[in-house]
């Protein structure tokens, strides 16, 4: 469910539509930090993220008249910065991608798991709240093959629905689901040495 526009957002949209000189600066100052964080998460490169943010804010200003107010301004801007980041990502030369298969669970011929699966510490949730642990998790996410990492970021972190992610990445919804599942499994494998200390 989309939420209604707040009074502050409504005033900002009105000012942007009227072309008030201070309105764009207010847009940048009030929303830029959060949007930069989104671009940095998606691009994993500070300079590319800054360029994507600039592209997104200029695009938002140019198209503010098409903003119909049914979604919150923050939601609309979020979508624009994601699109700008994906455009930036497409413009970059692709490197050969690491295979994900080695990070997926292995099975015996009869379909059972090939090895024991360690039990993760119950304190894992507490540990994941610590800054140093969050840094490790972010590094592991960055270690995923790019075409899987981007799906994990869009679905699990940016919380974009499957159909929309499929449109954004020019994939089928089924392919998005498969990539998300494999990305989560691969990340679980990468985090296992960190959280899975108590083997069965």
């Amino acid at each position: 469910m989309e939420e209604a526009l707040s009074t502050d957002e409504s005033m900002l949209v009105t000012a942007l539509r009227a072309g008030e000189p201070s309105a764009f600066e207010r847009l940048v100052r009030e929303h830029g930090g959060r949007l930069l964080a989104v671009a940095e998460r998606l691009l994993a490169n500070r300079e590319d993220a800054r360029e994507a943010l600039q592209d997104a804010l200029l695009a938002a200003f140019r198209s503010i008249k098409s903003f119909d107010g049914r979604a919150r301004l923050t939601t609309w801007l979020h979508r624009i910065v994601i699109n700008a980041a994906l455009m930036k990502r497409r413009s970059k030369r692709r490197h050969p991608e690491q295979q994900i298969e080695e990070l997926l669970p292995a099975f015996l011929a009869d379909g059972h798991q090939a090895g024991p699966v360690s039990r993760w510490n119950d304190s894992g949730a507490e540990l994941s709240q610590r800054n140093e642990m969050q840094q490790i998790v972010r590094e592991k996410i960055d270690g995923l093959p790019e075409s899987y990492r981007i799906v994990l970021m869009l679905r699990d972190i940016e919380e974009i629905d499957t159909e929309t992610v499929a449109e954004m990445l020019e994939l089928t919804p089924g392919a998005v689901k498969v990539r998300l599942h494999r990305a989560r499994q691969a990340l679980r494998t990468l985090l296992d040495p960190v959280f899975g200390k108590g083997s069965q």
Partner: protein, 82 residues
């Protein structure tokens, strides 16, 4: 149901979209298979850990002043009348 089947169904199971028959078979398998119970638990924690790690950065970032000025300058260059 084998471990391979169970792990294929994890997302549908977590989203509650697994058909009733498969959901029952999944739960029976979980009851018998410690490896898959551990896997499901760690899979859930993986999703939670990635959310915690990435959303933290979203609230702490403030745009550097020089970047703000660069964006404002780019807008002036793009549309001098605005």
């Amino acid at each position: 149901m084998t471990c391979r089947d169970a792990l294929e169904f994890l997302d549908d199971y977590l989203e509650g979209t697994l058909p009733l028959g498969q959901s029952l078979a999944f739960n029976v398998h979980l009851g018998l298979c410690r490896a898959c119970r551990n896997y499901l638990d760690s899979y859930r924690k993986t999703i939670a850990a990635s959310k915690a790690a990435c959303t933290q950065t979203a609230t702490q970032d403030k745009l550097p002043e020089e970047l703000i000025q660069a964006i404002l300058s780019a807008k002036r260059d793009e549309a001098p009348n605005n």
